[in-house]
């Protein structure tokens, strides 16, 4: 006879995927794959993790897709109310704070989302904010989130922060960072089973949000 085992239904699911954000002098690059998976199966190959909140701000969420959809919907509704009250669009710093409080409201039944908020701040500089599931956040020069995040972070640390290097090379420009984001996502697609199919890259600068798309491996 088997020992009694407690079976619990879990309200959470992990839909996989990887995302990253890099802040430049006056621009931000956001990249994320578009694969939605569960266990060993693929739900869909073409599902965007990114939502544009304002002309200058974009949020990308990894983790559970259902919670991400609801969270983004909630944020967009709050931003419409902000615009009505303040007669202007919310700044990235304001949205960052609002996202943190929104997440902490559900401290005891969290949104299973690992968010990265990116945009151009009021001074025209690139801003990237990294969040955990319950709203702890920090403004960072670059970050990553999702199932392949450990693979991505080491590469970004080496290529952008260059903390392990003595020789001074000039920082990457816009094109260089976009190429790096593409290369990094391709590499993660090779080694993480939950990342792949297609990738979206968003370049946010003074002229607005420019989306591009490229192919990753389908296996």
């Amino acid at each position: 006879m088997q020992a009694p085992v407690e079976h619990r239904w879990s309200p959470y699911a992990d839909n996989g995927g990887t995302c990253l954000g890099v802040a430049g002098e006056d621009f931000v690059v956001v990249a994320a794959d578009t694969r939605l998976s569960q266990g060993y199966s693929i739900h869909t190959r073409d599902c965007s993790k990114v939502t544009q909140l304002t002309d200058k701000c974009v949020i990308v969420s990894c983790g559970m897709k259902a919670d991400a959809i609801t969270l983004h919907k909630h944020l967009k509704a709050r931003l419409v109310m902000y615009e009505h009250q303040h007669r202007k669009q919310a700044s990235v710093t304001a949205i960052a704070q609002m996202l943190a409080t929104t997440l902490y409201y559900k401290r005891f039944f969290p949104y299973y989302t690992f968010n990265v908020l990116c945009g151009i701040d009021d001074e025209g500089k690139g801003a990237v904010y990294h969040y955990d599931a319950i709203g702890s956040f920090e403004r960072v020069p670059y970050t990553t989130s999702g199932s392949g995040s450990s693979l991505v972070m080491s590469v970004l640390d080496a290529q952008i922060a260059k903390g392990n290097q003595t020789v001074d090379t000039p920082p990457l420009d816009k094109r260089g960072i976009v190429e790096l984001a593409k290369d990094v996502l391709s590499s993660v697609g090779e080694r993480d089973i939950h990342t792949g199919d297609y990738a979206e890259i968003f370049l946010i600068d003074a002229s607005g949000v420019t989306p591009t798309r490229f192919d990753l491996k389908l296996d």
Partner: protein
């Protein structure tokens, strides 16, 4: 964790040493997990899609080439088609180490048998030995195999599960991608296919596993076993997953890595009374 009983007397001690694995370390593992909080290491599995078919005059096996360690890909191009004899090959799914050692052991046993009897080894021999061994270890050896070969009695295809059960079939699939591959097989298999059509079908079935199952990926390996030529492995028969984008990275300039400490040690001492001859 495993419940380990204390031996009561010498009979229990003798009993615990009979056959199969020695479970002495289970007590140690239980202690480590409970008191020292040390988790046991996980075995590397191959997610896998493998399949086999019997056509007119041949047995064709195929496999994908991805080995996974949890959600990470450990090997993008590993070999899952194992040589057992010139006319017998085996595709394996499950724990990578178990597969490698089990198939190598079979290869060596069959070679010894071939030399002892002077006859071509038969597929049924391998099946019997594999299933007996796997049953003896009660499923602890994680090998799920698609075994195929062509011997004097004709072409044969078997499927063998980790607990030791066997099935003799005209076509079969195993591994995490087996459902994806079986869908293709059921739709398109018929027993009058030629070898070329057979190769195309198994490759299609494996491709279905590669693209629709996350535990499978990489390239398609195919093995064709015929009466006269024996087995012929077509490594990377199809490569549907070439990397699409690779950035050009500038080489790191000399002196990039910070040197923290430099120590020069004299390891060799030269004797001055040694004279070099011209």
């Amino acid at each position: 964790m495993v419940q380990v009983e204390e031996p009561q007397d010498y009979v229990d001690v003798l009993q615990s040493h009979r056959g199969g694995f020695s479970f002495e370390n289970c007590k140690r593992n239980a202690y480590l997990a409970a008191q020292a909080g040390i988790k046991p290491p996980t075995a590397m599995k191959s997610g896998t899609t493998i399949c086999g078919i019997v056509v007119k005059d041949a047995v064709i096996l195929a496999a994908d080439t991805r080995a996974t360690n949890g959600p990470m890909v450990a090997d993008k191009n590993c070999e899952k088609l194992h040589y057992i004899a010139k006319n017998i090959y085996c595709a394996g799914a499950g724990t990578a180490a178990d597969l490698q050692h089990t198939t190598e052991m079979m290869e060596s046993q069959i070679e010894l048998l071939r030399m002892a009897t002077g006859t071509q080894p038969r597929v049924c021999t391998v099946v019997k030995r594999l299933s007996s061994m796997l049953f003896k270890y009660q499923g602890y050896i994680g090998c799920a195999l698609v075994l195929g070969g062509f011997d004097v009695t004709g072409p044969h295809l078997y499927q063998i599960y980790p607990h030791g059960s066997t099935d003799k079939l005209p076509f079969t699939t195993m591994g995490s991608g087996s459902l994806a591959a079986m869908a293709i097989m059921e739709a398109e298999y018929n027993e009058n296919m030629s070898i070329e059509e057979g190769k195309k079908l198994v490759a299609k079935a494996i491709r279905s596993g590669i693209f629709n199952d996350l535990g499978s990926g990489g390239n398609v390996d195919v093995c064709v076993i015929t009466k006269d030529a024996g087995g012929n492995i077509l490594r990377n028969y199809e490569k549907p997953n070439e990397r699409k984008f690779r950035a050009q990275h500038k080489a790191f300039p000399k002196g990039t890595t910070p040197v923290i400490k430099e120590t020069i040690m004299k390891l060799v001492s030269v004797e001055t009374d040694v004279v070099m001859r011209d």
